[in-house]
């Protein structure tokens, strides 16, 4: 076991991990931050996306020890400081961008990373960016719509409700 330290959602944390411990395992089992999900074992589904030093990363694809000293943000760190939903989270609720909720943390983390680098993405750009995030419930319609709405675009003309 090796000691690892990092900043998660603004708090300094540390723990003992094996070399093979994945970042997602450290977050879920070590820190009890179970909002980050595991939906596959081939880095395809994106349910485990977190931000590491500002970049969207699949936390099943990174060892906990690789995050030594890093600033990590998980879904638990995405709401406004007063606990209310952020604009992006609110857009997902307003536009029914989630059903079972399992892919949702990864979707929010990926969408936030997209909007950070491209504040007004087109529909095609959003669909392209979400290539690494699978959702089985929504058919993606309302996810794409929610992200467009969160970026300030008028979505009222998108397909009949």
């Amino acid at each position: 076991m090796t000691k690892v330290s990092m900043t998660v959602n603004g708090k300094t944390v540390s723990g003992d991990v094996e070399g093979r411990t994945l970042l997602v395992e450290f977050l879920r089992e070590g820190l009890g931050l179970t909002g980050t999900h595991v939906g596959c074992d081939t880095s395809q589904c994106g349910a485990c996306v977190v931000h590491v030093d500002g970049k969207a990363v699949k936390s099943c694809t990174m060892f906990a020890l690789e995050a030594e000293g890093a600033h990590v943000t998980t879904i638990e760190g995405m709401a406004n400081p007063d606990g209310s939903l952020s604009a992006l989270q609110q857009a997902f609720q307003d536009h029914h961008g989630l059903q079972c909720g399992f892919c949702t943390p990864g979707m929010i983390m990926s969408a936030a990373a997209l909007l950070a680098e491209n504040p007004r993405p087109s529909e095609a750009e959003i669909r392209e960016y979400l290539e690494g995030n699978l959702c089985r419930c929504t058919g993606y319609h309302n996810i794409v719509k929610a992200i467009m709405a969160a970026s300030g675009q008028d979505v009222s003309s998108i397909a009949a409700e």
């Binding site: 589904c45 993606y140 397909a159």
Partner: protein, 787 residues
């Protein structure tokens, strides 16, 4: 926007926890002192276990105990919940389905041994140290090969690999043959309904707990129906009475059918928790899910449609081979029979129908219900053969459908069901408008200029939902009732808790069910809370599948709330010293007709629990009622779908440029949620049509065993959908007039996609009448080269 009652698109209250990482999925639950299990699974499809030596593995670090079949002597097999009777009156062949393999393995993924250890990694490490020697036997994968004389048998003790040979309606068989022989035109189509993996994003998880002091068992599991698991596992596998067994399904990350069934892993964790004396947790990996979750579809069908000179349907005859996999999963036998044969009339008047289904055992993962379950298979073959017939006879496909629509209701089909309501012309009219069919030629021209082929596919669908009348399904072989339950508890200060036997794993029950109750009483939905997913605090219910939660579960809630209101009116009458018959309830106020007397909802609920001024001699205190609702009939959602595609002639790549769905779901409680259900169904249906395929090689190895090989639809594979449910013919036999919406999209969309691609190819001069799903670029390209 304030929350509203029935018909309002209230935002989902469950979203806040999911959006902030505060969901409570089964894998998020950790029990103090828990151990972890890893299952050693067969990597051979068919073989005899010659040696299974766990002695070295038992010495590995952290190992608590290793289980094999020997530990399960005296434990029952995993039961099947539906017995189908074959066309000769004999029961289906029903092999034993052991928790851990007994002497033989029958599919890749079957559990052979289980290692319980301190950590998941230690359990996995130790499983690798188990010495296993399997003598490989020839595997049977292809269904038609499996039923030939002399084929290797999946189960040595059975007569053959044929589970049943079902005929429906058997008495019509000769009349159907005769009608087809004498018909003006017969269109024949052979097709495959491709095998799929449900793949809810949350893999399955089970945690078994045993309390030695009380003798109580608890199972946390990712199930769509915890009561069903409690009954099947308790009564048939482990012999635990219901009052000593609690099953909890907390937040569940999607199901789509694959989490209906009772799985061996659940029984194992419950059993092992007592045997080891520690809670035992299993978290399925995605790789394991691909080889252990029951899969879907996998039918091979020949359908013949007989028509007269004007295109009126005279008869339909089908022969289908349906894959059961190696063992009978919970509802597997019912899917290709009662959920498929009964829908072969579709939206049309066809006087004579005969459906033959041969269910076959193969050395593959069990196959069971997947979103739509039998009904997509029925719609696909019917809507494809109608399209082919229209082209053969030179009749417009929409016109041919209209010519045969059922227009009078109720309508008794020749396949044993009675449609209560519908208006298939209305949904077709709506669809043609939504899809701007009139403008298609112009769009076709634009595509041609860009070097693309364009096609338009249109079809209808019907499904039987609101599953199901218990006495009817009992006659058809179901070993369970299919009612639903609700307890409505009113608290002293007026808030309500609805305890439902339905289970929400994405459907938004926590938002929609309160709309129903609030509407009936005239209060804000925020005063109503929904409790579900725990057998300890919900009445016995059958769970969520078959688009049944609102139609059956919602009806139970209505019935329980009616009892509440009836009793509350008695209390109100006492408080206002009026006759009960004169009491009216509106907007949460009880009034006496013709007077200005009133008491508020909260006054009455308080009186029920603080009965100082109360008719105690006539009425018990308290305000809590339970109702069980058993539907009188299935519900019959129906609609018309249109898909427009562009095909790249150089690569065969299909792009869906537009998809429209006009559905009749009867009344709607939350339109936003209904839209979302249709979107999701369309995504899965388009996935089946273009991308998804569970492929086994001839040795029984699943070639598409991960998301790298099994093509799940991604955001860039689908368009924005246009959906509409303004055509509403309310169900006549449930109190809400609702029909169910969860499966429609997955049922109606595959034929629309295939019809569209065939249309595109034919318009470009290719002599192509059918391509089997998934319509991958290679298949479409190959079809273009051949015709």
């Amino acid at each position: 926007m304030p929350d509203g009652g029935i018909g309002a698109s209230n935002k989902r209250r469950e979203d806040v926890r999911f959006l902030t990482g505060k969901g409570n999925y089964t894998d998020d639950i950790n029990i103090h002192g828990q151990a972890h299990v890893h299952f050693l699974r067969s990597d051979i499809a068919h073989g005899k276990i010659k040696r299974l030596d766990t002695s070295d593995a038992e010495k590995m670090p952290g190992v608590l105990r290793i289980f094999t079949a020997a530990d399960f002597e005296g434990v029952g097999g995993i039961p099947c919940g539906w017995q189908v009777t074959d066309r000769h009156g004999n029961p289906m062949q029903e092999p034993k389905h052991p928790v851990l393999a007994e002497g033989k393995v029958r599919y890749v993924g079957e559990m052979i041994a289980a290692v319980v250890a301190e950590t998941p990694a230690q359990a996995r490490d130790a499983a690798e140290a188990i010495v296993l020697d399997i003598e490989e036997l020839p595997a049977v994968i292809d269904m038609k090969e499996a039923v030939k004389d002399g084929a290797p048998k999946v189960h040595d003790e059975l007569e053959s690999n044929l589970c049943y040979d079902w005929g429906f309606v058997e008495e019509n068989r000769e009349a159907v043959d005769e009608a087809i022989r004498g018909a003006h035109h017969v269109t024949t189509l052979e097709l495959v309904n491709n095998r799929l993996v449900a793949n809810p994003m949350e893999p399955r998880v089970a945690i078994g707990i045993y309390d030695q002091a009380s003798g109580d068992h608890t199972l946390y599991t990712t199930s769509q129906n915890p009561h069903v698991i409690r009954l099947l596992m308790g009564a048939f596998v482990l012999g635990i009475p219901e009052h000593k067994l609690r099953v909890v399904s907390p937040d569940v990350g999607g199901g789509f059918g694959s989490k209906i069934f009772h799985y061996a892993e659940e029984a194992f964790c419950t059993f092992a928790a007592k045997a080891v004396g520690r809670p035992v947790k299993w978290t399925c990996s995605r790789s394991e899910a691909f080889i252990s979750d029951a899969q879907g579809r996998d039918h091979v069908t020949k359908i013949e449609l007989a028509l007269d000179e004007e295109g009126h349907f005279l008869a339909i005859r089908t022969e289908t081979y349906a894959n059961m996999g190696a063992y009978l999963s919970t509802f597997a036998p019912s899917v290709p029979t009662w959920l498929h044969g009964t829908l072969m009339a579709g939206n049309y008047r066809t006087p004579l129908i005969y459906v033959n289904v041969k269910a076959v055992f193969t050395n593959t993962v069990p196959v069971d219900a997947y979103r739509g379950a039998g009904r997509p298979e029925a719609s696909f073959q019917l809507e494809r053969v109608i399209d082919k017939a229209a082209r053969e006879m030179g009749i417009d496909p929409v016109e041919l459908r209209r010519r045969n629509f059922i227009t009078e209701f109720p309508y008794a089909t020749p396949v044993a069901v009675e449609y209560d309501t519908g208006d298939y012309n209305a949904t077709m009219d709506k669809l043609l408008e939504m899809a701007d069919v009139a403008g298609f030629e112009k769009r076709l021209e634009e595509s041609r200029k860009r070097g693309k082929l364009r096609g338009l596919g249109i079809n209808c669908y019907i499904e039987a939902c609101g599953i199901a009348p218990s006495n009817l399904v009992g006659q058809l072989g179901a070993r369970a009732g299919l009612y639903e339950s609700a307890t409505v508890r009113v608290n002293a200060t007026g808030g309500l808790v609805v305890m439902t036997g339905s289970h929400s794993h994405g459907q938004g029950h926590e938002t929609a069910f309160p709309q129903v109750v609030a509407d009936m009483i005239g209060i804000d939905p925020s005063m109503v809370e929904v409790v579900h997913g725990d057998t300890a605090n919900t009445p016995m219910g059958m769970g969520t599948y078959g688009s049944r939660s609102l139609a059956v579960g919602g009806s139970a809630i209505v019935r329980a709330t009616e009892k509440i209101i009836a009793k509350a009116k008695k209390i109100a009458a006492h408080l206002m010293e009026a006759s009960e018959a004169d009491i009216e309830l509106k907007d949460g106020q009880f009034t006496v007709a013709g007077t200005d007397k009133s008491v508020a909802w909260g006054d009455v609920t308080l009186a029920a629990y603080v009965p100082h001024n109360y008719p105690l001699e006539d009425l018990e205190p308290g305000l809590e009622e339970t109702a069980f609702y058993d539907p009188a009939n299935f519900t019959y959602p129906a609609g018309a779908y249109a898909c427009e595609v562009e095909v790249d002639p150089d690569t065969g790549k299909v792009e869906i440029v537009s998809f429209c769905a006009a559905d009749d779901f009867g009344n709607i409680v939350n339109p936003m949620i209904v839209d979302g259900q249709v979107h999701g169904g369309l995504g899965q249906g388009i996935g089946q049509a273009l991308l998804e395929h569970a492929v086994y090689d001839e040795n029984g190895q699943l070639l598409t065993g991960s998301f790298m090989d099994y093509a799940m639809p991604r955001a860039s594979d689908v368009p924005f959908y246009k959906v509409d449910h303004s055509c509403q013919t309310p169900c006549t036999h449930n109190p809400l007039g609702v029909k169910g919406c969860g499966e429609a999209g997955a049922i109606g969309s595959p034929p629309a996609v295939v019809n569209a691609v065939v249309d595109a190819l034919q318009r470009a001069g290719h002599d192509v009448t059918h391509i089997d799903m998934p319509l991958s670029p290679s298949r479409v390209w190959a079809a273009m080269q051949q015709g």
